[in-house]
Symmetry: C2
Subunit: 478 residues, 2 copies
Amino acid sequence: MAASAPISKMIYVGPFVHSRSLTELEIGENGAIGVDENGIIRFVERDFHEGFEKLMAYVEENKDEWVHAKVVKIEGNGFFFPGFIDTHVHAPQHPNTGLFGKTTLLDWLKKYTFPMESSFSSLPRAHRVYQNFVSRTLSHGTTTCSYFATIHVPATNALADICLKRGQRAFVGRVCMNSDLSPEYYRDESVESSVRDSKASIDYIRSIDPNGEIVKPIVTPRFSPSCTPDCLSAMGKLAQETDTHIQTHISENKGEIALVQELFPSSKSYADVYDTHGLLTPKTILAHAVHLSPQERKIILARKSKISHCPASNTAITSGCAPIRELLNEGHTIGLGTDISGGFHPSILENVRQAIWVSRHLAITTNDSAKLSTEEALYLATRGGAAVVGLEEKVGGFEVGKEWDAQMIQLGEVKQEGNEDGIFEEGPVDVFGWESWAERVEKWVYSGDDRNTVAVWVRGRLVHNTSRYTGAEGTAAP
Amino acid sequence: MAASAPISKMIYVGPFVHSRSLTELEIGENGAIGVDENGIIRFVERDFHEGFEKLMAYVEENKDEWVHAKVVKIEGNGFFFPGFIDTHVHAPQHPNTGLFGKTTLLDWLKKYTFPMESSFSSLPRAHRVYQNFVSRTLSHGTTTCSYFATIHVPATNALADICLKRGQRAFVGRVCMNSDLSPEYYRDESVESSVRDSKASIDYIRSIDPNGEIVKPIVTPRFSPSCTPDCLSAMGKLAQETDTHIQTHISENKGEIALVQELFPSSKSYADVYDTHGLLTPKTILAHAVHLSPQERKIILARKSKISHCPASNTAITSGCAPIRELLNEGHTIGLGTDISGGFHPSILENVRQAIWVSRHLAITTNDSAKLSTEEALYLATRGGAAVVGLEEKVGGFEVGKEWDAQMIQLGEVKQEGNEDGIFEEGPVDVFGWESWAERVEKWVYSGDDRNTVAVWVRGRLVHNTSRYTGAEGTAAP
């Protein structure tokens, strides 16, 4: 299987940037990171000064076993950064990206989402869209995704196959939805068929990646209104029996919250619906969490369930502003989600910016403490997301023992004459040369895009690169 | 001079899209637009079906004089769209794009802006930054800019030279600022020197483009707190005497408004400061207008002054949400501004999105009617901006008699196999083939970027193109 094909020992030489804590970035200007044949980081040097000969001498002196490693060097303006983690994304909605018109959540589902998802009964369509979308998310530096698929088992399994083949870490969930909120043409027939189909997809995904090194199944009840109470309970039971992650939506939009109250009159709250059906677990990812009550936040915290913040989506379909500062202060575990296609962009970097904008809009209407800093938003996109999907020991930063899920960022360099020809092959970020490293990172965050992500690795395997990536050069000792 | 070099008669064949009104886009799926040697649109056909032979026959039958015109055809997924108009942008702040940290307006000026702008006493620096920035804005499809430069006459004149040479329509303003709000190292010495230097730059710009076909001067008092009362009056007088446009800032941030009240205690309001100093004219562009009182809005409307909405900037530096729906309802003339580097992106397309997001945040906190539609935001970016800079008879849409300021947009096409290689040379927009034309336009608006702007024309002259632009082919009758 391609994802487990052998790789060489590698040394990544150049600046690296990652979160030291929620509020602090570490910028190792002269880094060297050694990654072994299993994609595991074995050493992280911070004071290594670039230069091939120095590297050889260093390696011989310090790490005999690395003498034959290959070397990937940053040339020019660039740095290594942890791969992004998208904690909430609907892969089949990719063709609807940017289409939402004047709708909000519930009419948007009916107008755009259900018709598109139902077409994934066609396996060729599923293959075309998923192949394209996995390429897109990888190109934006996303090394881990928690995917909602559709209700169809073959199409869901095809998405898992593609992620495994391409080497993108993924949670892949067959969507469960059996209530009559969904149109007759697109819903599970019965509770029994919901369980059977979800189980079938779990089994398939575990058969192709038994240790869950790249792809894992995830139990995916769409959201409360899409499922009958007995179906929610059955999903809770299935997740428990199979020891599987769970993902769903919560408290995205006020109309939705009213609907949940109407459909589940005996429940104390939206969160209580999930809690009383066995769906609030430490392995549960709750997307949105825009309008939670204090009581709901307490129960989510007590159950150790996780929150996926989807700022681009919440703005685009006018759902509201999730109070991330308050949730962080209370101790919630939070990552970012693109929520394609409620969200309008498959990039987590765009959602880093959007998280910052949403926090500024909260600051405008409430108080200044709502503002998220650049550092905080980058933390949510990496270590925060890793914790949301339960991979905080494996990915999200560069430490010995973690796996090499990383992107190589390259910025542009403004010529002395100032690009008179108007061609910007190096992408959208202009570096003049006098910027500090912290400023280079900020320029990337606020004006960068996929052109700046020139190479992407998952577990040490190169899974995406642009023509600007020059590849591994020689070995430490040729 | 390059900007006035002769061009051929041209026929632009393919779909075109422009605003019919504030709320309505016209999509001419089978368009043919004839542009003469002066860059003037001479015919606009809506039902022309593509094909070179048909074009020749059509031309022979209908427009003898066009038989020898060259033809530019849209191939694949694309359309012609009017060039964008950036009604408020600080060219010297380009190197600070994306750098604002945790600041708001007044501390941001001191920390980032004044040190950068003062360095434009160096002409080589000015040349490098301005050359780069004009290339950037052209690459984003911006055909007209209203530029703030710095206080330096030589650097300001260099910006005008570059715009003229590159063919970008521009208003270029030497910044006037003589009060002690600005640091001693970066301000005008006296009212006399303010007037003398502003006048020198006006004279220079009128000497290089006597009819103002491409570049025009604009009187630019930075904002009330930057100028003493007598300096503001002198600028009002200078604009009147020289019949020049005026640009400045108004009511961006609450701290700024309080400062204006403190500095101009006898004035009724921020708008009143400008009005009583002769600066509120039909040729005045007021940037931001976030927190105007009803009285201020009335006086601005009565004076027929124009408003530049800078949504990305207002969000990034937490200024607030300009109530564009209300201002439109009252009859104000409004365009979009990137406000580099308060704004974090030189693209008006990004600011189309940001205008929509800001309006959604207003909808979240006030009511749904605040929302701007895609059509409305595109109108602000084109016809709205044209009216703000007084060019509504010349640019902003495709009608006979207007000048050909346009961009060719090309979208991407998803292969049947779904881009398995992960290379997206056609840019960020994925078209699957089943989308309506309105949906293609929406996909461009919400996920497009400069990669989709493959060619740009001003007054019929090609001023930017990427490698995807294949150029003019043959002539209508070879």
